[in-house]
């Protein structure tokens, strides 16, 4: 067969049409390709595996169908390494052709993938807490249904001053952006209420031993805020008791300090500790009761932060798809819809601000023993908290992002 110019054009034209056709045909009918960017190996794997379990449960409860379309789930594992996360996301987009991503897990991973998410215009429902991705450098394709780092610590500061009557406090957190942001939010609100943060410590994330930090801890204070993630809060608290500090200083914790995932391996040392989070397995609403019960049946432990995160994001996704009658192919209208949606989820009612961050309840919880296991019982609810707490968004955004240096710590005593 000779291959002249006309035939060539016909052939490539047909090829191009073939490339275009399936997407047209696919819209409204083909399966929706959902990517889960999680962590299944390395130090963060515990939370990452819970993310997958909860998402699979959500889809199973709906017969893997959202808004009338089947769902194909693709799971990526970054090992918690930011550069790896970016590569895996690219793989999910370019090889698996995902249309929407749930994840990633960690703040540093989200920051590493920021550029790519913009470039690929990837619809992202994030679990990671990186503040500025919904604040001073909002990513138009990025929506977060969990919370920013400080969104839970600011209400806790309010609660510890007003209800727990704390006045002099210490703060301690992992020496990473997440820890800095949490502590900064806590300190700002606590000091504006009239309290004083008199001591601040940022141990390295992989500190072998908290002994030196415990020896430094002031004992003429009312309490200490723990801004730890992963297993660090758990280790700190055990050593805290070892050093005989229990009863002298009252610890309170951020959203990941005493997560359900950690509680199930803890003992009486955790009892009575107050923490704040946008979730607790003990929240009394119909959706959560069903979610937590089913999760317990499958895995025989309570869902925590990470499990709830994907379960909530999946609910946001479903509500958005329902509003769009399943048309996920129109990306701009997806983003517009998701940011105007109101949906009841396992964490309670959820809506979004115009920067793409969630507005929802923040729960003050207290560790108690129930049916032989430790649970985070909800003792107070701050309804509809935004990432700006009670500040006006415009004024909030004029300040630098929360960090080690801002707001300045004025009351530290040496």
């Amino acid at each position: 067969m000779t291959f002249n110019r006309r035939r060539f054009i016909q052939a490539t034209g047909a090829g191009a049409a073939a490339l275009v056709m399936p997407t047209i045909a696919q819209s409204q009918t083909g399966p929706i390709r959902v990517g889960l960017m999680t962590v299944k190996t390395g130090p963060l794997a515990s939370g990452g595996i819970d993310m997958e379990r909860a998402l699979v449960q959500y889809l199973k409860e709906r017969n893997t169908t959202l808004a009338g379309r089947k769902v194909d789930l693709f799971v990526g594992d970054s090992g918690g390494v930011p550069a790896q996360a970016r590569t895996k996301i690219q793989e999910l987009v370019e090889r698996d052709k995902i249309q929407v991503m749930i994840g990633p897990l960690a703040t540093a991973e989200a920051l590493a993938a920021d550029d790519y998410i913009r470039q690929a215009q990837l619809l992202t429902l994030s679990v990671a807490a990186a503040e500025d991705m919904t604040q001073r450098k909002p990513n138009p394709w990025f929506t977060r249904g969990t919370s920013t780092s400080s969104q839970c610590s600011m209400p806790l500061a309010d609660y510890s001053h007003k209800t727990l009557k704390m006045r002099r406090m210490a703060v301690i957190a992992d020496d990473i952006a997440y820890g800095h942001e949490m502590c900064a939010g806590f300190m700002r609100v606590f000091e504006e209420n009239g309290g004083k943060v008199v001591q601040r410590m940022f141990p390295p994330l992989t500190v072998p031993d908290y002994g030196t930090y415990l020896a430094q801890l002031k004992t003429d204070i009312d309490g200490i805020f723990l801004g730890f993630a992963g297993s660090n809060g758990f280790r700190y608290l055990r050593q805290f008791n070892e050093y005989g500090l229990r009863g002298k200083v009252t610890p309170i914790g951020g959203m990941t300090a005493l997560d359900e995932a950690v509680l199930r391996n803890m003992g009486d040392e955790a009892l009575g500790i107050v923490t704040s989070c946008w979730y607790s397995a003990e929240i009394e609403n119909a959706i959560n009761k069903k979610f937590a019960a089913n999760f317990r049946v499958d895995w025989s432990y309570d869902p925590g932060f990470y499990a709830a995160a994907t379960y909530v994001e999946a609910a946001v996704l479903e509500a958005t798809l329902n509003a769009l009658k399943g048309n996920i192919e129109d990306k701009p209208s997806f983003m517009k819809t998701v940011r105007n949606i109101k949906v009841d989820t396992a964490r309670g009612p959820v809506s979004f601000d115009r920067y793409g961050n969630v507005v929802g309840n923040i729960y003050i919880r207290k560790v108690e023993r129930k049916d032989g296991r430790l649970v985070n019982r909800v003792i107070h609810t701050y309804p509809d908290v935004s990432q700006f707490w009670t500040y006006k968004p415009e004024e909030f955004l004029k300040n630098p992002v929360y960090s080690r240096d801002w707001p300045p710590a004025k009351n530290l005593e040496s």
Binding site: A45, S46, P204, T206, D209, T212, R235
Partner: protein, 286 residues
């Protein structure tokens, strides 16, 4: 004053823990001339194995011994079956140990899950005690005592026994040791078993302080490296002094200059290596 007493005790306790970790690493490094990058994983695996053993034998010390034996067998198998095949190829061996450490990390994740698991402190040692007017965790002092006893036992083994003499000969001059008929090959296996056993038992004994969690291996390996580089490769005394030196530098460094935690840990090592490449007590191998 109290503050300094606590910090001194802290530095000693941390030094003791580091010695349990680093002694085996130093022995293996000294004799086989390879940085055994599975050492942190052996420590972590030891902690996890100890947790499983504790379910059947509710005694931490017994669990440490059983765990140590299990890790010795494991270490022997790794040496015989894998490292032996790469004999003479130091770079290959180091890379293989790195690979094995990844495999161990994932196996632990599969078997024991991703959540941190505590190792209970023996009930008799749970209450803090008063030392010189300060409260200090009893268990940490016990760890210090165990480290000192272990150091003494290793010293006697290395200095007073025939096998110790053979190991020292191997560290100093491998070819000559072979030439005079020392079974260097069997010695390699024995030392690897001993190193693995020390790391594993250390993981269990350190358990009540550190717990077992994914990433424990990566947290511990650099510490072993620092201690051994500082103290001198293959030197027991070096590992001992290095451990307590790092314990003290780390404790007082983070207390006085909290923002420079990592600098404080690595700077002394860099300085020592710059001026004394063999470390404080290491000898130039021939």
């Amino acid at each position: 004053m109290q503050y300094w007493i606590i910090q001194t005790l802290n530095s000693l306790a941390l030094g003791g823990l580091l010695f349990l970790l680093a002694a085996g690493f130093s022995l293996i490094f000294g004799l086989m001339r390879i940085a055994n990058l599975t050492h942190g994983s052996l420590y972590m695996l030891g902690a996890y194995v100890g947790i499983s053993v504790l379910k059947y034998v509710p005694n931490l010390w017994l669990a440490a011994i059983i765990g140590g034996v299990i890790m010795a067998v494991f270490g022997g198998l790794v040496e015989r079956l894998i490292l032996r095949a790469l004999a003479g190829n130091a770079l290959g061996q180091v890379l293989v140990t790195l690979g094995i450490s990844f495999i161990i990390a994932d196996l632990c994740l599969m078997v024991w899950g991703g959540d941190p698991i505590p190792v209970p402190t023996p009930p008799a040692l749970q209450q803090p005690i008063l030392v010189g007017g300060v409260t200090f965790p009893t268990y940490r002092l016990v760890v210090l005592a165990i480290a000192v006893v272990t150091a003494l036992a290793l010293y006697l083994l290395m200095d007073r026994t025939r096998i110790g003499a053979m190991i020292r000969a191997g560290v100093d001059d491998m070819q000559m040791a072979r030439a005079v008929g020392i079974p260097v090959s069997r010695l390699f296996t024995a030392v690897f078993c001993l190193g693995a056993a020390l790391a594993g038992a250390g993981g269990i004994i350190g358990g009540p302080i550190m717990s077992a969690y994914p990433g424990l291996d990566a947290d511990m390996l650099p510490l072993a490296l620092i201690v051994v580089m500082l103290g001198g490769v293959g030197s027991l005394l070096g590992a001992f002094v290095g451990s307590f030196l790092i314990g003290a530098i780390y404790t007082f460094g983070t207390a006085l200059l909290p923002d420079l935690a990592y600098v404080i840990l690595f700077l002394p090592m860099i300085v020592v290596i710059a001026f004394r490449p063999t470390g404080l007590f290491g000898r130039q191998s021939v």
